[in-house]
Symmetry: C2
DNA sequence: AAGTGGTCTAGACCACGCC
DNA sequence: GCGTGGTCTAGACCACTTA
């Protein structure tokens, strides 16, 4: 029964009969209409909440969710190739008049297993953690925690909780650790209670955990960057070029030829 | 109260006291221990289910979930650069003795708004849909639906529901539509009921929707590929190379220089 | 103050897995 | 057949928003 109620409501949302921002019928109304107990209608609504379709607020009611997504481009700052087409794609998600802000917190911590494995250091050895929450118009958009091997960044401006002109890669390059390539990993999962708090997430919002591990040309790890991207606020976008030309012949790549 | 029960169980799972595959205390036991009604313990367990931590099965009990993830590499087949390091990364997620299988279904359908926008055709115009479900050892791993403009693929082997030797890009290239570059989009969300059915997903499993739109050098779209990747079964991995060399000078890119 | 959703109770019966 | 989780009822009181 609760599945039928949920399906009916889902259909009304998808068809546009209940547009984003509108209020669903109250739980009491649904109970009367379907002749069920309120706990049953609550279960139907819980299903929609967990699907990320609606949000419930005490005293207000249940409203249909609206997605406001921004484009997240891992290749930004890499002087990546850009085509007119990708601008057309990103335009669909771009909003204007945004007011960005950032919270920064730098500390020396013990590396957990996950970070230690990526930085090639012993678990629980000291690393520098640079933790940031990036907000737009006052609402948190994503978490960006960066971990560096302690010896690489001690006594640099990376240790100070302020914006770094030119980026931290510039600082590392000056010390002889120029990042040459990086590996991106994405894990799709539900947020931890800590992440829900830091990002003020609604129930039913999954996140992408984007892990960037940067290496020098000598294969030494120089940084491990962890982004937590709420699914309702981001579209992740990449651009790729085939390493063969229009006649099917190989084109030289930055790392010098085909593998 | 139900939050406390959920937090206690979550701690026991994270600490390893309740390892993957083990059974949680039954709802009746929890009700006795915490002196609450069974509906309250059910709510605690519902929370853990929606976090993707546990699965409930009628007649069996509630078990701690185990993740078996495979590596998903969008760059595969692109002759992408490969370093020894990425092999080390992928090794952590690779399982052996896997038995892959595929279901294919090809049909001519009306493009929805999403696909029409990406293929640059009118909404509801005819496109060819090639729908696949890829399974490993009998369990579905991901959905791969590919859409082509009808005129580009009519009377080709893309229309037949069988494996294509060399891939569909090879067939398109022969007809003068060689894919030169592609744009990747990732949307993170909860699965639709249809996706839950096709992939036999457990509750609390988010998915990544990976959309690849391929273009010729003349900026004509040739395909729109939609992958549905369950979060508990995939790690998405990219490798990127900085377009500058160790002295900081630009390196030529496949598309010919910096932007 | 009225109305909304949030939590909780103490029962009931059903569907399923396992012995 | 027994015990598990799945569904549902008919109440109760609380916390919060809005007017």
């Amino acid at each position: 029964m609760y599945r039928k109620i949920a399906a009916d409501l889902r259909d009304k949302i998808k068809s546009g009969e209940l547009p984003p921002g509108s209020l669903l019928p109250t739980q009491q109304e649904l109970s009367r209409k379907y002749e069920v107990a309120r706990m049953t209608t609550r279960q139907a609504i819980a299903e929609l909440i967990n699907e990320g379709l609606v949000v419930a607020q005490q005293g207000r009611g249940v409203t249909v969710r609206d997605r406001q997504q921004m484009v997240y481009r891992p290749q930004d700052g890499w002087e990546a190739p850009t085509s007119p087409t990708i601008d057309r794609f990103t335009a669909a998600f771009t909003r204007h008049g945004r007011n960005p802000s950032m919270e920064i917190d730098v500390s020396v911590v013990q590396a957990d297993d996950f970070v230690a494995e990526r930085l090639g250091v012993e678990p629980r050895s000291q690393v520098v953690a640079r933790r940031r929450v990036i907000s737009l118009d006052g609402t948190p958009f994503h978490i960006n925690d960066t971990y560096y091997p302690y010896e690489l960044v001690r006594d640099t401006e990376i240790m100070s909780p302020a914006d770094i002109p030119g980026g931290s890669n510039y600082v590392l390059a000056e010390r002889g650790y120029r990042e040459r390539y990086a590996i991106d990993e994405f894990f799709i999962r539900m947020p931890t209670p800590e992440e829900i708090g830091r990002l003020r997430l609604n129930p039913g919002t999954p996140v992408a955990m984007h892990v960037v591990t940067g290496f020098t040309a000598r294969e030494e790890p120089v940084r491990c960057d962890i982004f937590i991207l709420p699914g309702d606020r981001h579209v992740i976008m990449y651009e790729r070029v085939h390493p063969i030309d229009d006649e099917g012949r190989p084109v030289s790549t930055p790392r010098g030829g085909q593998s």
